[in-house]
């Protein structure tokens, strides 16, 4: 961390926020370029997410079906789009991990474990939505809003805090005890 930034922002939380915003800005700038260049990768991820969702739904319900990127459960279906892959969560989480003042190895552990964990949460979220959509369609709007926007940031914050307590503070010598 350059000394000038430390002097300008003496509170470490403000320094974190400045670096986080900078990294997020960088991701926002690079993301459209990357998705245009490697559209196949994004498409493969959405297709894979739909297939995994169909496979897992098939273990629970007998009438799960797949039609392209649309997963059906009886007469109810969800279409897997780019936002359903957890890519936004992963980008925000990665910026938060990279902005945290710790070693490169701990940051790599954070991204290496946190992004798949967020993806698993995301698969679970879609699975719950599928089940709710079929069994209690009147609850679908609430659950969709709750599991999408309302808990998106809470999910990222929880995984980020888990990483801080389980990895960063556990390994750091002389670190204060974790909560």
């Amino acid at each position: 961390m350059p000394g000038s930034l430390r002097r300008l922002l003496p509170n470490p939380a403000h320094r974190f926020l400045a670096v986080f915003a900078l990294l997020l800005g960088l991701e926002v700038w690079l993301y459209p370029i990357a998705t245009k260049r490697w559209f196949g990768a994004v498409d493969a991820l959405t297709t894979a997410t739909a297939r995994i969702e169909h496979r897992v739904a098939g273990w629970i319900w007998a009438d799960a079906a797949l039609e392209g990127k649309q997963v059906w459960l009886g007469g109810f279906s969800v279409r897997i789009i780019e936002e359903c892959t957890g890519i936004f969560e992963a980008l925000i989480f990665a910026a938060a991990v990279l902005a945290y003042p710790t070693s490169l190895a701990r940051r790599a552990i954070g991204i290496g474990l946190g992004v798949p964990l967020l993806y698993l949460f995301n698969l679970l979220r879609i699975l719950v939505l599928l089940g709710v959509g079929r069994a209690r369609p009147e609850l679908f709007e609430f659950m969709h809003l709750y599991f999408w926007q309302a808990t998106l940031i809470l999910m990222i914050t929880s995984v980020w805090l888990l990483w801080i307590f389980a990895v960063v503070r556990r390994d750091a010598p002389n670190a204060p005890p974790a909560a």
Partner: protein
């Protein structure tokens, strides 16, 4: 363990309650307020009509922000309330920006532009805004977490 679980359970309960309130009352009230309050700003940005857009589904970002501000342990109540009072108008401005970006990316104001590549980054920023505002207003609590990341330099205390 209990100290870790309690804020998590509080956050889950609060988010369920606030989402239910948002759908029952908040969304409709905020949409009406937004239509009136944001119109002059959107006009100034070149947006004449308020489209029924996906961006408006992100108006629910008040919920995670409020949950984070209310469920953070160890945050002084004065700071908590002050942060909420300042954060709400900032989220409103974020919503104005997102709606404007979406409307302009689809409209004739940016002929030939790729609306997808314009809207997605704006949506990413809008999604991250509650977290960024929480980090700003809960800076004192967060500072305790951030010290010690490099081997305890500074030796801050962990939040309760």
């Amino acid at each position: 363990m209990r100290r870790t679980l309690r804020p998590l359970l509080e956050a889950t309960a609060l988010s369920l309650l606030l989402t239910a309130l948002w759908l029952a009352w908040g969304q409709g009230a905020y949409e009406s307020f937004f239509a009136e309050a944001a119109r002059p700003m959107l006009r100034a940005l070149g947006v004449d009509a308020l489209p029924d857009s996906p961006a408006r589904r992100r108006f629910v970002s008040f919920v995670p922000f409020l949950v984070l501000m209310l469920a953070t342990p160890g945050l002084a109540w004065r700071r908590r309330l002050g942060g909420i009072l300042l954060g709400i108008p900032l989220l409103f401005l974020g919503h104005v920006g997102l709606v404007a970006v979406e409307a302009l990316s689809h409209g004739a104001h940016r002929p030939g532009s790729d609306s997808f590549s314009v809207l997605l980054p704006a949506a990413l920023f809008a999604d991250a805004l509650p977290f960024a505002l929480w980090a700003l207003f809960a800076a004192d609590v967060l500072a305790g977490l951030l010290r010690g990341g490099r081997g305890g330099r500074g030796g801050g205390a962990a939040p309760r």
